[in-house]
Symmetry: C2
Subunit: 445 residues, 2 copies
């Protein structure tokens, strides 16, 4: 179990002396993180969490998940951003994007409170009809507009349907002691789980935020944490030449400085697609500030070779690819012989799809690098809980290091407030009257 | 019915004299398209298709869709790229991303042949178990690896299950006269629909490629075509000042020349998300060539304000946003009063979600433009068939014009062949022996 970084496809794009020059920079960035001297050090809790996790809380997560699995057909998870992307992407990767449709093991899981669409919420309500429902609302404060509004509506549905029994079906993942949601939960008798103070939203997937929905989906969360702990140990190696995570952080900064403004995360397993969204938040929100940052994008190959493939092969040369290569897929099929060979594909007969997919990957990497696109490969042995936990920790650690290399605070997100302030003003929230007048004038109202 | 382009948020980013300078360029690009003098003019068929569509074929599409709706629980649509993204995005936009799960009206529709993952295909087979299944295989040639492999597997399942009756459940959308799939269909007695010779994959959604799956999902395809025809008429206006489509094409080229390398399509309706993927193929594959092109990305707001929002607000200033603003959503909910106002959201009580979502959009546009990100707004009156048809034609026409402005052939995709050649060589396809040796050496095998 480990991620292996393949650097051979960087030949001609990143030279070894550039890497040498980065070594002391990386050491400095790692020190900022590990000695908590860097900006945002109040939010370094994720760094040791796989080891220091609250065992009692973990037991409560297991128990709650068992209860939900036994008395629930539909779990609605209410959250946005880091309270949404982690669990969803884990379930799609480790179970399936068709987890709900396959309906084999565990309740259906839907996500709400991750937008302001009335029609979306209306459909979530429809999907709950006639089903035994539980809610997991995830919000540090309880006042973030999107999840708070969805929770209003869904809590109403629950209380109408279950009366006082609703309390046993509402699970809150929130602040340990403060905030609206915590107070409400204590009063109503809802079970609560903790979002630690020193872990920001996009670094929170290995807390109850991600672990409770995962466990409900039948994912072995102990194995997830074990994988993360293994990564925590292995990636603490301060030898730059031997630390794949540090090298990845260095390479992406070198490529950015060389004018590669876009990093494309590419995988050949469709079930990784939603993980691409998780990565976009992790890196985009951590690094996209002060006018800086690699623009994160993601593709699902080979699907997107027939959409974004042309651009990557031959368009503007301002990008590079980071390929997540799963050596062993979740399942497989073998291509059978067609006696007539009408589709001309009998040269593939007897091959496993994984072999074909792998050759597609290798062929694509060679084509794209020849087209002028640097390719990094992160090799992951298999798609399972341990590897997932390892991978998550790897990407979070690389992100922290990378952000310090870039010269930003990888743990804040001041820019997210701008739209909220404007939205509150336009919606007439008390206290925003002056801004409201200014904005209405700009809108010509 | 029409798309309105709002240019007011471009103030400070694009000046009116720049637009004036573009007018003759746009006229030249439009002439290249309308007089078929531009590169790729063999593929201009989509330009008049909404008017010149084969009425007899349309009737056959209706009839096939009715049959499928009456005798099928699961339709598997087999295709990749333009044979996949159009139908899927239309169904998600016009019905719902939860169309299958809601299960109210029409067969479930799954997509296959759009990747090389054995585990994906294995799950599609599982989803067919115990259901009445039909297939719609979409491929011009019938030899594209991904759909051909999936069709081998799924056809085997169908023949095993239905014997000779399988023929009545297989529908092929393919070349009018030539190719492996057409020959096979004629021999096996499968019904066929036509991919016109002069319409490339990414411009094909208004042919049987997109229309048959849409009709199976209960979408009124006559209304879709009527909307497209309306766009065809209205957007033929050669007055640059009055043609929103031409102006959009001009603005995105101006912004590219000003160093905005990334265009982000943004919508506040989650059901538009998959349309973002369709747009990425349309623009990425049309313009990403010869080292040129805007990198297309997409976001689903407000979801992604909590992931990509920070970057857009405050990261590298190399991007702009094109907002698709649906004035009327598909459905709505009203926020109810909470007597205790524990979440502090009572200032929203009595408001429709659409009003809140709209204020979020306006607030975001004002925040992002203040952050240095040009915003274009394309206002669409509603989410329905006519508007969808109009919108599709609008984006295809803008893409053709924009590609000619950029100085590329917007109708070819030579770069897509590079990975295929390498993949064939690595998989041992006869005729690729020399390349195989070269590539294996590069891989160190």
């Amino acid at each position: 179990m480990a991620i292996t970084l393949r650097e051979q496809y960087l030949e001609g794009f990143v030279s070894s002396h550039e890497m040498d020059c980065m070594a002391p920079q990386v050491a400095a960035a790692a020190a900022q993180l590990r000695q908590h001297t860097g900006a945002g050090s109040d939010f370094h809790g994720w760094l040791t969490l796989p080891r220091d996790y609250d065992k009692e809380e973990l037991a409560r997560i297991h128990a709650a998940a068992e209860k939900i699995r036994s008395d629930t057909d539909v779990l609605v998870v209410i959250g946005i951003g880091g309270s949404y992307l982690g669990a969803r992407s884990a379930i799609e990767l480790l179970r399936s994007p068709y987890y709900n449709a396959l309906g084999k093991d565990g309740p259906a899981i839907y996500f709400a409170g991750c937008n302001l669409s009335g029609s979306y919420l209306d459909e979530i309500l429809a999907l709950c009809e006639g089903k035994r429902v539980s809610l997991n609302v995830i919000s540090k404060s309880g006042t973030t507009t999107e999840p708070a509004l969805a929770f209003r509506v869904l809590r109403g549905m629950m209380e109408q349907r279950y009366g006082k029994e609703a309390a046993g079906r509402i699970y809150c993942t929130t602040d340990r002691a403060r905030g609206t949601l915590k107070s409400l939960a204590d009063r109503e008798g809802w079970q609560t789980f903790v979002i630690p103070d020193d872990v920001g939203g996009r670094y929170s997937v290995l807390t109850a935020v991600g672990l409770l929905p995962m466990a409900v989906a039948g994912i072995d969360i102990d194995a997830v944490l074990a994988g993360a702990q293994k990564a925590m140990q292995e990636l603490a190696n301060e030898d730059f030449s031997a630390n794949a995570c540090y090298r990845y952080a260095a390479i992406r900064n070198i490529l950015l400085r060389r004018g590669k403004a876009i990093e494309i995360y590419a995988s050949y397993e469709p079930r990784f697609t939603q993980m691409g969204e998780w990565l976009k938040q992790l890196y985009g929100e951590s690094e996209g500030k002060d006018g800086k940052g690699l623009f994160p994008a993601s593709v699902a190959f080979t699907t997107d070779l027939h959409s974004m493939g042309q651009f990557i092969q031959d368009g503007s040369r301002n990008l590079f690819e980071t390929v997540i290569d799963f050596i062993t897929p979740a399942a497989d099929l073998t291509v059978e012989e067609d006696p007539e060979n009408l589709d001309g594909l009998n040269f593939l007969s007897g091959m496993a799809m994984r072999q074909i997919n792998r050759r597609a990957m290798q062929g694509t990497i060679l084509a794209h690098t020849r087209g002028g696109v640097p390719n990094l490969v992160l090799e992951v042995p298999a798609i399972n809980e341990e590897e997932y936990g390892y991978m998550v920790y790897f990407f979070m650690l690389a992100c922290g290091i990378s952000g310090y290399l870039l010269g930003v605070n990888p743990f804040d997100q001041p820019g997210v407030e701008a739209y909220k302030k404007n939205m509150f003003a336009l919606l007439g929230k008390p206290g925003y009257e002056d801004l409201r007048q200014e904005l209405l004038a700009k809108l010509g109202e």
